[in-house]
Homo-oligomer: 332 residues x 2
């Protein structure tokens, strides 16, 4: 008897649908309580799933070959492609009678946001945002919102993101009053661009939020804040720059190991690779939507899909979405 049901969009990934379908098959093996609705090319799905002798009762397939590519305008994609896998997956995930725990997609980020607003918006019509939960220096986690869903933001959108991020950290990490900070160019309340300066008093006056002020870029992943609020442009820089820097330092260690003929240094590189190659780039959690939508990054492999499935199950149980080990494994 399946306890958890999720929808997986098999199209839209850079690696093609195979990796995602294999990941779904592996997840079915690993989680006996799980059943999955796969959206995509039925023939291929049946063929690939069979290889893993998946339990047929736990699989449902919605057939389509249509997809919204990464180069497409998200709005026209969502509006003009009713048979796109993403659209069908979202409509399915939204069916009340099915009671899905959430969905997974590696599709076009803009289309995911647009679609979540159109097909899975909550009763308040909250503008969804894309969050990333990132590991911090002190072993805690910081929820970065927004990471690129809304590039140009208003202060009321940032205010809404602060609530969405705060709710996530409450639910997932049992933090009673998550510390919310604004990403700025200085810690002082007077620092910031127009948007940050306008948003500061709004967050400060909202007694439902535990607003702690501004945090600078060098403290973004220090663990000073549980929720770090910024527009999608700045969040995208923090997310991608963090990943880029981690990769750069790891590459330097590999080079140093060769240069100085010290193979033992590779142990350091491997350790950091597990901790920091988060697979966060292009991935994340859509907040503010009626169902949890996990965005897998475009080059996700089958293990990533298994891990994201586990995160959805954790989420449904009100447990931490990520643990350090899961993050490390997801990144391999």
């Amino acid at each position: 008897m399946s306890q958890y049901k999720i929808v997986i969009d098999t199209l839209g990934s850079d690696k093609g649908p195979e990796a995602i379908i294999l990941g779904a098959a592996l997840a079915l093996k690993e989680f006996p309580d799980l059943s999955i609705t796969l959206v995509g090319p039925e023939e291929l799905i049946n063929e690939k799933i069979k290889e893993y002798e998946g339990d047929a009762n736990r699989i449902k397939v919605i057939n389509t070959n249509e997809t919204i590519t990464n180069y497409e305008n998200p709005y026209t994609g969502i509006m003009n492609k009713p048979n796109a896998s993403l659209v069908l997956a979202m409509k399915e995930a939204g069916k009340i009678e099915e009671n899905y725990a959430g969905m997974i997609t590696a599709g076009n980020s803009g289309a995911i946001l647009m679609g979540s607003f159109r097909f899975l918006s909550d009763e308040n019509k909250t503008r969804p945002c894309m969050a990333a939960v990132l590991p911090c220096a002190n072993g805690s986690y910081t929820c970065l919102v927004d990471t690129g869903a809304t590039i140009d933001c208003t202060s009321s959108q940032l205010h809404s993101f602060a609530h969405l991020g705060s709710d996530l950290m409450k639910k997932m990490y049992q933090i009673e009053r998550p510390r919310v900070a604004l990403l700025s160019n200085g810690a002082e309340p007077t620092k910031g661009n127009h948007l940050v300066k306008e948003t500061y008093p709004i967050l400060a006056e909202d007694k439902e939020l535990n607003f702690i002020g501004n945090v600078e870029g060098n403290r973004a992943l220090s663990g000073d804040a549980d929720v770090l609020v910024c527009d999608g442009f700045a969040g995208n820089q923090v997310l991608k720059n963090s990943e880029g820097m981690a990769k750069q330092l790891i590459t330097d260690i590999v080079k140093l190991s060769k240069m100085r003929n010290k193979p033992e240094f590779m142990e350091v590189a491997q350790y950091l690779m597990k901790t920091y190659d988060l697979g966060a780039l292009g991935g994340g959690i859509v907040l503010g939507s009626r169902k949890v939508i996990m965005k897998a990054r475009g080059n996700s492999d089958e293990r990533a899909i298994v891990n994201i499935s586990r995160m959805l199950i954790n989420y449904a149980n009100g447990e931490a979405v990520f643990t350090k080990e899961q993050l490390a494994e997801a990144s391999r």
Copy 2:
């Protein structure tokens, strides 16, 4: 006979004037062609300089105890404190008959910008910006403009920063046609916030610039571009986040070394510390001003002042401001 003259503002540093004065004394020892005008508390300067037996002919002191703090409004600081060390230093540096190579200050960034515009602006009244020259993965350098001088920018300001950065890289690194890129949230020309989208065609149409398009945050320090253009808010994030991430990974390596009882891993941490703790945070070069202004970071020690003095001499000679070794040394 002194060939190079520079002005050093001794006030405004977090560490107090002592470290800067000692740095000036060391620089005089190290560079026999250098003479220095020190602005700050005369008594202290004379006392500290004496300890190093500096050559009196190569030292000039402009006495003041007034300073513009980091918590002060830059505009009112510059306008209302005619005896502030920064103001006196800039007026001195601007004296045509003195022919200074440039000046060094660890003061309030906003006031430096404001002051450079008021006292050292060029004939075109260019808006100055704060550049940082950062080491890249491939061993080259990228000039990041702006790093926080102008937080909210217009497209015409970004256009001007592109020229300033391009001129610097031409002069300093003998790059004939520096590759100029816009920092964005995606490589495609359609990606960006309003500002980036508005600036893109302006840079693309300017035939004096070698514009190569958008660069994402994860490629910021990849060496893909010689000049990376962005508003001061985004640039500040990239600069500080890069430094923060480098520190975080280095700290992890130190912990790993202890945890696994592998003291040899400290060699990796030391190597990365030299390469990445750039001292860039809060430092940089003011471009677009009549005289080169090097901003030392607030916690600069005496070695940093010696290194920045060397950079000014290099600059005056049309040589590379930074070499990897100098950067590494400056960061110690």
